[in-house]
Each structure stands twice: as C-alpha cells, then as structure tokens.
Assembly symmetry: C2
C-alpha cells in the first residue's frame, strides 16, 4: 500500500514538474484513468529516460515501443538522404513529444531522433497511448491538433527550402532557433549547433553554410564565438529570412 502510494506521488511529481507544464501527457492524466498495471508499467524505471548529448533516441526504421515527452534538453529529428546527408526536419524540446507519429500510425519511425544536449524525458508506453486513443477523446483531439500544427510547419519548410536562397534560409533558421530556445545573459543563443547541423537544417553544403555565416558576420548582422552565435540585427535578419533579398 505504502508502495503504491509512494509510486503515486512520484508519478504526480514527474508529471507535474514545471518542465512538463505543457506536456501532452497531462491530457490523459486524470491519473485515475490509469490502472495499477499501467502505473506499474510506467514506473519500473521506464518513466524517466535520460540521454546524453549525441545519443540516438531512436533510429529510422525502429519500431517504437512508446513516445517520449521531453522534460529537459533538446532533440533533433532528421532523416538520411540517399546522398548520405542528414536532413534535420525539426527540433523538439521541453514539453514537446517525440515519436507520436510512428506510434499513432503504427509504423516504423520515419526519422532518427538524436539528443542535442543531455536530455531527460518521460517515456509513455505505446499500449497506454493506443488505449487512450480509443477511449479518451480529449487526448486524441490534442494529438490531432499537435499533428495538424506539425503538418503546417512541414509544409512551410518545403516552400522555404525549395524557393529561398541559402543565405535567406540561414537567416530564417537563426531567427527560428533564437525564438525557440532563447538567449543567455550575454545574448548568445542557448542552442549550440555545429556548422554541419545548421547546414543540415538548411539543406546545403557545410562550407556554403560557413561562408554565409561569415558574410552575415562581416555585415555585422551576427557575432560568433566558437559555436556560439549572437544575433545583432534581428530585424534585418528577419527580413532576409522572409525573402526580401539582400
């Protein structure tokens, strides 16, 4: 009994942690919705999964056994092209979910997920998701709107990547990264990516990416210090990103 009670509070703690404020998990956590068996399943060391920078959370083609709700850290989702390059599709961070598409569609993962920093996540086993998909309308609707949003973003990426020159896409990417992950006390972006990662977002050769960053630096639109990047001319970059040619 005490055992179950402890477990209960532990799960409350995990779910209510401020890191997970927006986490989709809360949608079916009227915890009473979960039975003892499910609670046990989540608890046995499976609730929290931690990853170190560079760890592969799952790979293309993997059959996922559940979804990951990011509590702390950032993951990148990418797909290997036949030319050997890894196209980064999107980033996922605090309160966002990894792997839901594959679990919903009951298909192997289409993307690879890799930890950009050290990462903490809740793991929610597939069977709990599927059960809720059939019973919990609010939960399903939430997922639906989640995917609807992702789809819009993906469509936007298609347009940008195919129609805008590299420099504009890099400008846009920098703005987007700053908006998503914020800046530190010195004004540098929190997320630190290699030049290769940035080029894999933009869909260009690493050297081209570096060259454009150098240009932006010469034009005093950004400042760099190692991997760290600070945006100096936000408005100008934003215009550039929106396609107003430089």
């Amino acid at each position: 009994m005490t055992n179950i009670s402890n477990l209960f509070f532990y799960i409350i703690f995990v779910f209510m942690s401020n890191k997970c404020e927006k986490c989709i998990v809360k949608k079916f956590t009227g915890l009473q919705a979960l039975n003892t068996e499910q609670l046990k399943c989540i608890s046995d060391g499976k609730v929290t999964r931690t990853f170190k920078k560079g760890d592969i959370i799952f790979d293309e083609g993997d059959h996922l056994k559940g979804i990951y709700c990011v509590r702390y850290g950032i993951a990148k989702l990418s797909k290997l092209s036949t030319n050997g390059k890894d196209q980064i599709i999107k980033f996922v961070s605090n309160g966002e979910v990894l792997g839901q598409r594959s679990v919903i569609a009951q298909e192997p993962a289409n993307l690879r997920a890799v930890a950009v920093n050290d990462m903490d996540s809740c793991f929610i086993p597939k069977n709990i998701i599927l059960e809720n998909l059939h019973n919990n309308a609010e939960f399903t609707l939430e997922l639906l709107q989640n995917l609807a949003h992702e789809l819009k973003e993906a469509d936007d990426v298609i347009v940008n990547i195919s129609q805008k020159p590299v420099k504009n896409r890099i400008a846009e990417t920098l703005i987007h990264l700053e908006d998503s992950f914020g800046i530190d006390h010195e004004g540098f972006m929190i997320i630190q990516l290699s030049r290769e990662d940035i080029s894999n977002i933009v869909g260009t050769a690493t050297e081209s990416c570096i060259r454009m960053l150098s240009e932006l630096k010469k034009e005093k639109f950004i400042e760099t210090s190692g991997k760290r990047i600070k945006i100096l001319e936000r408005k100008t970059l934003k215009k550039l990103g929106e396609g107003i040619q430089n």
Copy 2:
C-alpha cells in the same frame, strides 16, 4: 416525409458512390449519427460542389467553412513563396480530403487548393466535423492517421527537395504521378500538368524542368506528346528518383 425520405436516399447515393469508396465521410456515416438539421444543411445544394479546371477551391488565409471530399477529379495544394513562385505541396484525388488540417486546427488555410481538372466533391460543413471530433472516436482516429500519413509524406518531400538534384526529383515526380493517377490505354499518364506545374512540384525554374524533361526524352526514358507524358523506362527512372546518380 417523402421529402426527407428522398433526401435520405440521395445522400446514401452520394456517400456510397463508388467514387467515394475510401472517403473518410463514411466513418461518420452511420447516417443515423446525423440529425435532421445536419442532413438539411448538407442537402441544400451543399453536398456536392463542382469546380472547373483552374478554379480556386480555397485560398491561403481563407477561413474554411468545411472540408471537401473529392469524388471525381484532382486538386493541387500549393503555397505561394515570397519570391512569387507557387510551390505545389501535394495532390488530392478520389476519396481523399481537402481542408481537414485547417478545420481541425481551427486556423485559416495554409495552402491554396486549385482544381487540376473539372472536379466533383462532397462538402461537409465544419460544425459536423467538429461535433464528430468530440463524439466519434473512430472518426477522430481516422483523421489522426490521415494526418500522420501526410506528415510522413511531407517530411520525405523535405529530404528529397533539399538533397536531390533537379533531374532526380523530376524522375521521382513522374513515377509518383503515374503511381497516383495511373495511365490511359496508350500508356500516357492520366494526369496532365503544365511544365510550370511540374517545376512547381520539383521546386525549380520552369526552363530547367523543361530541359530535364528533354534530356529524359533524348535518353528514351520518357516520351511526350504535348502535355502528355509516357514513362518508357520505369526502372531506370525509379532508380534515378531514388538518388542513384545518372
């Protein structure tokens, strides 16, 4: 009474029409699920909406009042880039649905939908969709899997468009168009697109697209006759499309 009865059979006819066999509408058509008011609403000339080749079904930014289930014909979904080019994101044909993302997310349309041929569709008003989203788990799940599939496709497009050269993307597009819409008795693809449309799928200049098609023609991989295109070397084109360089 007879009036209602006629209406009933009309709707049965529309929904059960072989054109709509796979139509998502069937998921909430246990017609008894709809009340008289809903039936009336669907009937008043709104069930069937026809469009002529080139008609804009809805435009970017439009607030959709419902979704369109394609009974006959093909629509293209595209988005205008800041550079003035129209990127085609996908095609929608028999039994597939238009506008669901916007209705689900309750957001303005992100894409423009244009009829590629003369088109016939069922129009399902938004309120019926939203009602079913809250009550009809099977329907919601179906939509969810629909979006999950679209998302995967969109991610694949991102990788292809950013990493493969134009010629390969054109090869892939031709294969995809033939697979989606089939061929006539002479072996020409059913769907007839302008060179500009094809270039807007591939994300390239129209002239580049034409040049590549000419190359494919010289290499005897395809044959053309006006807008009509026939694939001659399916395997080779497919390999090309998969990224095996030529």
